[in-house]
Amino acid sequence: MVDSTIRVATDVGGTFTDLVCFEIAGKTGQSRVSTAKSATTPPDYETGMMNVIEKAGVDLTRVNFLAHGTTVVINALTERKGVKVGLITTEGFRDTLEIARGNRPDFFNLHYEKPPPFVPRYLRRELPGRMTYQGEEMRPLILDRLADIINDFKDEGVEAIAISYLHSYANPSHEQATEAAVRELWPEVRVVSSHSIAREWREYERTNTAVLSAYVQPVAEGYLRRLDEKLKANGFGGSPYVMQSNCGVDTLEAIARTPITMIESGPSSGIWGAAELGKLIGDPNVLALDIGGTTAKCSLIENGNIRIVTDYWIEKSRKSSGYPVMVPVVDLVEIGNGGGSIAWVDDYGKLHVGPQSAGAVPGPAGYGKGGTEATTTDANLLLGRINKDYFCGGEITADMVNVEKTINAIGKKLGVDAREAARGIVRIANNNMVNALKLVSLNRGFDPRDFTLVAFGGGGGMHAVALAQELGVGKIVIPANSAVFSAWGMTMSDLRRDYFVTCLTDLNEGTAEHIEATFREAEKTALEQFAGENIGSAEISFTRFAKFRYQNQEHTTEVELNGAITGEKISNIVDNFKEVYEREYTYRLDAPVEMVGIHLVAVAEVGKLSLPVREATGQDVSSAVKAVRKVDYALEGIHDATIYDGSRLEPGMAFEGPAIIEEEGTTTVVHPGNRTVVDDYGNYIITI
């Protein structure tokens, strides 16, 4: 037995691989947190991960728990680096993947280009057999043609097969039979059946999900295997947990079967971290905002609860219908607005920021690596918000000549000087983010003033106060270690699986039993899956949700349910639904209510830790002051701001804005009149 517990999380991002390590001494309960950053190493991401472990001095033989988040899936998709996939589907529907939904978001553009399917027509094959929406067999499955199809697929170099039949969400037996037959005919090939990922209706979305999952399967599986081997070779005794998109981790074995669930693992761990942090500090209503280099992501957390949805798309924008992925993903809004977002002026003199980004190379003009366009970061440099002499933690000498040149070019087009142009860039960037925050709050009937803004990522502290002012939010939290907050969130997460099952039924006393049975069946499936990984039922807790709507509606509202569903409880459930519905949509109806499906959450704690309190030496806050410099607060003008060294701030210290907190990786901008307090955990609590 070792006398301390060590928990490690590593998060592979686009540019950096982050690490957070907690070491808790067994006897004293005293703990130590360490963090490290290292370059991401595509395509062998596991190398970057081992590098950061080494850099942090983590002894893998002593690690009890290791969580891992990675962009390997989303990268394989967006860079089209998956494998050749063959699709087997219901007779009459092989073109569903290509027809998609027929929508054209960019509707005045007569040159719209529909996103091409991931499987060309000649590799989309049909088999007879048909289920009804109620899960009854309408026509039997006939597998006679399967052997020929498999032979064709082999000849064509197919490496993975997706199977997707109509109504398999209601009855997967045809998919299961086909999958078994494929495995027998061709044991080496990867096979993904749509029902094993999604038990919800909408055939295009489910089919596309199965196809994309098959497409990344060999890539992701290979990656996970190499990762596991390297960890073991370096002495790690356990098996790593992998971050999913639903804010939970799952076992490596489970993830390797359907790696597509990792698609948004990075953002989901940060949002989970914000939810956990909110609970910890007694602010369970949180607006979580993650500002990175190219995008900003936000999500609303009500009373500590994150919201998980399955309508997620990649590459969807105002200009493209994108590709749906029907897996549980934390409900977030993502916009192309980060530190590296490029500012530009259109032909008519209007200023825009993003969604194009300067990326890591060439990066913002201030990097001096050949960037010729002004970014949000450059505007922040020019306004003195980012310290030009401590740029990127002092690792880069800010090329202020280039910054001024590029921002001047913007100013010239706008007819203003560089300072005004920089203010404009910051204000437009902020406005884009404010609109995103409104989408997750006001748009759903939540008043942002009832929430605490938890802002993290490299740019979180830079913009948070201005956004909060705009939204009327009174309290902002910039977490300690906010630059590696996603990795931090991972160390706080549980083993979590979300089960969505479409099951259309009227909601009345007579159907209670049927609804209860549906939950029971999902729970049974969950318990069996966990049992296969040696996780006993005692360790698992379930939370039940269901999706309701008024009869004749299509879109649903999800409501949490308490305990077993019985006839007596139905009227309560109806009332709860109507209340949630009214908050979001302003009215209620006297119409029958129906249930469209269930959402079961199964959680097993994997030894979560309690966060250590930081020691304070009792120094005066003045000991953390680095300097005073002029900072431009845009609308509030230029002020002499006190500059604090974040690494020297201690719990209990407090000060008033105008101020700037600088540390490696992040800068926090405190506006005039804002009070900032450092809490016991080292978080900055800013009140407006």
């Binding site: 009459g92 073109d95 290509e98 027929g102 929508n103 005045f108 929406y133 989408l439 302003t586």
Partner: protein, 554 residues
């Protein structure tokens, strides 16, 4: 809170917020509607108008609805012009094209004024297709109608909510006229929720920046729209272009477009008299079609507003199909609006092929199927536009399986949902591999879609165009293929038609929809052999076609 003068950035932030508010209205309506044609097909639009009724911002949705709401709001402004007529909390509705409804009676426009500091600062409005508003036929649309009185309840721009209080008798009248009263009520409340959400958002913007700044921002936004349009207009080849085109019903449509330095004039005066049937449109409807083609030609990417359309001049003659006079029926207005859109497109395509592709299937292909759902015993009504093929362009092949130019952020109904909700089995949904659309660049593929009816005594109504004359090709490309329905009854002869009203259907009858391939561009013999081989491999063309039509050697 900080103060802000009306600097350009503040103005821009307000403009962005208008767009965001219109999007929020759209999202709210979509999520609460009860008709699949609203929540799934998204046959709806939302917008924000300035106090004079000009479009200041529009939500996602379909382009054909972007230019509708301003016209409706202007009718409200004219009609309710006395002090006290328009108060905070009021909500108005109109669906009658002779009273600002623009389209047809199924589309109810809901309008709410927004007041800040006692001053009218904007209007929020939306439009959506309601499943049944009464009239002689289920679903309210029928080719049999000979006057608008047969097409449903007429709401001649009336108030439905006064200072926040529902005017119950009016609501009752609206509801009782529908064959699907609960659905109509649900959809109407979805529309009301949507304009109220818009109002809330605009108020918070106006309170934050002040009503004066708000008004300045809106005005500047219009000017911006106008500047964009005029600049692009100046780049179009100047001249007068004319086209005469024969229609499926034997009529000839004539269009004359004059593109001048600062004007875009569309002359439709020389056209047939209005019909007794519902293939007519209001002048406002034609204006929407002109605005759409103009916007696509000049600046498809930035949001449309009132200013964008200032250079347009439209000439029509009252009493024609393009400027119907009361009480002409207008149920299938969308097909005729689409025809005029397509005629203008075709008229200009030859002169600016870099901006305009070959013709697309160019019909909404509105398909109405109803009956009793055998599992629930409840009435169902399918109201579906169909997907089809788009034309080839200079940059490449046309898209397959897309909604027509009238639609935009519109989604087809998944077979799985269709089967659960409606008493139908969808037996296939495939690309249409019939010949048509061959060229150096190929027209996109239409679809073949089978609905098998599950119970006796249902009905089918449809009105497709481009059935006799398919999508046109360009520059030697072949024309596309036709839009039509093949009705395959369990007993009896197969029938083929493009228009049908209230055909009775029985159990196991199959309604097979074919939509057209888009027109091709350029000589098929010049097509890249690699692409010909790809199409062959994908089963989109036959060996014979590859050799004969495309000249493939090996």
């Amino acid at each position: 809170m900080t103060t802000s003068e009306a600097d350009p950035i503040t103005i821009e932030i307000i403009q962005n917020s208008l767009q965001a508010a219109a999007d929020e209205m759209f999202a709210a309506m979509r999520k609460t509607a009860m008709s699949s044609i609203i929540y799934e097909v998204l046959d709806m639009g939302t917008g924000i108008m300035d106090p004079q009724g000009e479009i200041a911002g529009s939500g996602a949705g379909i382009p054909a609805f972007v230019g509708v709401l301003d016209k409706s709001v202007k009718v409200i402004i004219d009609k309710f012009d006395q002090p006290g007529d328009v108060e905070p909390g009021d909500i108005f509705a109109t669906n009658d094209p002779y009273y600002g409804g623009v389209t047809h009676l199924n589309d109810i426009v809901v309008i709410m004024p927004v007041f800040s500091e006692g001053e009218l600062i904007a209007w929020c409005a939306n439009i959506a297709h309601n499943s049944d508003v009464g009239g002689m036929a289920p679903g309210s649309l029928t080719g049999e109608a000979t006057s608008i009185f047969q097409e449903g309840l007429r709401l001649p721009a009336v108030k439905i909510i006064s200072k926040g209080e529902t005017i119950v008798p009016v609501m009752e009248v609206i509801k009782v006229n529908s064959r699907m009263p609960d659905v109509l009520e649900g959809d109407l409340w979805a529309a009301i929720a949507s304009v109220r959400i818009g109002e809330r958002r605009l108020l918070s913007i106006a309170e934050k920046y002040g009503t004066k700044t708000f008004a300045r921002a809106v005005e500047a936004f219009m000017d911006y729209g106008e500047r964009v349009s005029r600049r692009e207009l100046a780049k179009l080849p100047k001249g007068t272009y004319e086209l005469t085109e024969e229609q499926d019903n034997g009529q000839f449509y004539n269009v004359k477009i004059t593109i001048a330095e600062d004007r875009f004039v569309v002359d439709l005066r020389d056209n047939p008299d209005q019909l007794d049937g519902p293939l007519n449109t209001s002048r406002d409807g034609v204006m929407v079609a002109v605005q759409m083609i103009f916007k696509s030609l000049t600046d498809p990417y930035s949001p449309a507003n009132g200013g964008s359309f200032r250079p347009i001049e439209l000439l029509t003659r009252e009493g024609t199909v393009f400027h119907a006079k009361e009480p002409a029926p207008l149920g299938f207005y969308y097909e005729i609006e689409l025809r005029v859109y397509d005629v203008m497109w075709r008229c200009l395509a030859r002169h600016m092929p870099e901006r305009l592709a070959a013709g697309h299937f160019a019909s909404v292909c509105g398909t109405f199927i109803g009956g009793i759902h055998p599992d629930t015993g409840r009435q169902y009504t399918v109201i579906e536009p169909q997907l089809g093929g788009w034309g080839a362009s200079q940059s490449g092949d046309g898209n397959s399986g897309m909604f027509c130019g009238f639609h935009g952020e519109t989604y087809n109904c998944p077979a799985e949902i269709n089967e659960a909700r409606n008493g139908l089995i969808v037996d296939q949904m495939a690309l249409n591999v019939s010949p048509g659309g061959e060229g150096k660049h190929m027209g996109g593929r239409g679809i073949v879609l089978d609905y098998r009816v599950r119970a006796d005594n249902g009905f089918l109504t449809a009105g497709y165009t481009r059935s006799k004359f398919p999508a046109w090709g360009l520059d030697g490309g072949h024309e596309g293929s036709p839009n039509y329905i093949e009705f395959i009854p369990k007993e009896g002869e197969v029938q083929t038609f493009a228009a049908i009203s209230g055909l009775t259907t029985q159990k196991d009858d199959v309604i097979r929809v074919y939509t057209g391939n888009g027109g091709g561009l350029g000589n098929p013999k010049e097509r890249d052999p690699e692409l010909v081989r790809r199409d062959l491999r994908n089963g989109l063309i036959t060996d014979n076609q590859a050799r004969e039509v495309f000249g493939l050697k090996d």
